[in-house]
């Protein structure tokens, strides 16, 4: 049955998601072309110097891409469910509601993780070709919060979009903005290296998932402003 759900979400999102993937690949291709150009212009040793000693991050183009990818997937997946209360169709399927939501979210998470692993993989291979492992790991650590922001953008969109009461929707949007802000606090390479930061990076998506269940539940039972 999870297959059927993935089939449904796949039919729903495939074209646009393919576009998102292609944009991601183009973005990375562009970054590496630009990197090659920098190497030719500045020389290998100089560029290494800038990276090691001046804390230059050469893949900044990637910064908001995962967030947009997550957000767009969220919009594609959940907006059709919200319009005309179409999610009733899914919730009426002979499965537990929590499981239905779980399957829907799994699709999004798996798609995003595949996309992000693919992009990180290319980044890893490309960077490993040009740079020492210390630089590569520093760079991957730098992009880590950005990729997490993609997952959270996805969850938090659902958290805000499903919320039926407008006032609470605003509260949710503020809360989501705050949670997402965490991923973009600092641009310093590998600033999220400490364990405490990594833990928070992992906790925020978990909060996001919980909140999606909550919003869908409120959406389903038709919570109204008067008794919130």
């Amino acid at each position: 049955m999870i297959k059927a759900f993935f089939y449904k979400e796949w039919i729903k999102t495939r074209k646009y998601f393919a576009l998102v993937v292609i944009i991601g690949l183009i973005l990375e291709a562009y970054m590496f072309l630009k990197l090659g150009r920098s190497f030719r212009f500045a020389g290998y040793e100089h560029l290494w110097d800038v990276v090691i000693n001046k804390n230059q991050f050469l893949f900044s183009y990637l910064k908001y891409y995962p967030f947009w990818a997550g957000l767009i997937l969220g919009i594609l997946q959940f907006l059709p469910e919200i319009s005309n209360f179409r999610i009733k169709l899914s919730l009426h399927l002979p499965l537990k509601e929590t499981r239905i939501i779980f399957y829907m979210l799994s699709y999004g998470v798996i798609s995003l993780v595949i996309l992000f692993v693919l992009l990180s993989g290319i980044l890893f291979l490309g960077a490993s070709h040009f740079f020492a492992k210390e630089i590569v790991s520093n760079y991957l650590l730098t992009t880590l919060p950005w990729f997490f922001s993609g997952l959270c953008g996805y969850f938090l969109f659902a958290f805000c979009a499903f919320e039926p009461v407008w006032k609470r929707k605003l509260v949710n949007i503020c809360l989501s903005a705050f949670l997402l802000y965490f991923f973009f606090i600092t641009d310093f390479p590998a600033a999220y290296e400490k364990l405490s930061s990594i833990i928070i990076l992992c906790i925020i998506p978990l909060i996001g998932i919980t909140m999606v269940y909550y919003s869908i539940y409120r959406f389903k039972i038709g919570v109204q402003a008067s008794y919130r």
């Binding site: 049955m1 297959k3 059927a4 089939y7 449904k8 039919i11 729903k12 059709p80 005309n84 209360f85 179409r86 009733k88 169709l89 919730l91 009426h92 399927l93 002979p94 499965l95 537990k96 389903k220 039972i221 038709g222 919570v223 109204q224 402003a225 008067s226 008794y227």
Partner: protein, 292 residues
């Protein structure tokens, strides 16, 4: 007989507006019950509460003995649901959507669906979003028939359909309930269609259940009486929606014909001519709930 749907003391508000208070009814197995009511009397609200898509302000609702807000997967399997406006997934084509639903229902009857689709004259690759309302209703119906549930809940099936599709829908529903133990709970604002279909009538008025009776009984007992009394007639408890337009009075009653006429005569000063008529379901509905 076991009640399939049971509502106890159902009360719901939208904001401060009361939809109904202490609504009670129960539906028996094996019948087609029509939920009739004017706009805003809470038909869709009731359907939503029945499926757990709305939490009532207070009161309880049971389907197959389970509280409606937490139906088990097994029970959901026994219920077929048509959303208002024949809402389905617009991004599927007719083959894809069948494939999707088939995997959830063990007793899926593919042939029912495709039989209906053959008549539709749409290509297999046509997305549901690109179909007409009538075509979409057939897709939704086909899926319900293929699911072959014990209970069908249909919210305003006639919405947006031309007479041909409406008739087609009704014909299929009739065939569907011929099988044993099938029940249907249906709302529609075109009451004409219901006359051909429903066994029982559940009529909602603002805030309450006005009446819950077999359609046959309703049609044989509920009569309209017309007379030119220049507004002299004062209706009592046995008469509904008495209305005088330009000196002509209409009133409705469940009383046996003779007794009704006697009662009317008693209240009239002059011996006017009284015309009594049998009514269509639509007229009955208007007789019971009024034109306004």
């Amino acid at each position: 007989m076991q009640a399939i749907i049971e509502c106890k003391n159902l009360t719901h508000y939208y904001g401060k507006r009361c939809i109904y208070e202490n609504l009670n009814f129960s539906l028996p197995k094996g019948k087609i019950t029509g939920l009739l009511g004017k706009n805003g009397t809470g038909k869709t609200t009731t359907i939503n509460i029945l499926n757990g898509f709305l939490k009532p302000y207070s009161g309880d609702c049971y389907i197959f003995g389970e509280p409606s807000y937490s139906l088990s997967p097994k029970t959901k399997e026994r219920i077929g649901l048509l959303l208002e406006g024949h809402i389905q997934y617009p991004f599927f084509d007719i083959v894809q959507i069948e494939k999707f639903y088939a995997s959830f229902h063990p007793g899926w009857k593919k042939e029912y669906y495709f039989e209906l689709m053959k008549k539709l004259n749409v290509s297999e690759k046509q997305k549901i979003s690109k179909m007409s309302c009538g075509q979409r209703s057939q897709v939704a119906l086909g899926l319900l028939l293929a699911q072959d549930p014990e209970l069908l809940i249909l919210d305003d099936f006639s919405m947006g359909l031309d007479p041909g599709y409406r008739r087609l829908f009704i014909d299929y529903l009739k065939e569907f309930v011929k099988a044993e133990n099938k029940s249907v709970f249906i709302t529609s604002h075109i009451i004409q269609d219901m006359e051909l279909l429903i066994d029982d009538c559940l009529i909602l008025d603002y805030g309450k259940v006005l009446l819950h009776k077999p359609t046959k009984e309703l049609m044989s007992r509920f009569k309209r009486y017309r007379f030119e009394d220049k507004g002299a007639f004062k209706s009592g408890t046995d008469f509904y929606n008495t209305e005088t337009i330009m000196g002509k009075t209409e009133t409705y009653s469940f009383l046996p014909e003779k007794e009704a006429i006697i009662q009317i005569r008693e209240k009239l000063p002059v011996n006017y001519e009284i015309i009594n008529e049998s009514l269509s379901l639509e007229d009955i509905f208007i007789g019971l709930t009024g034109k306004y």
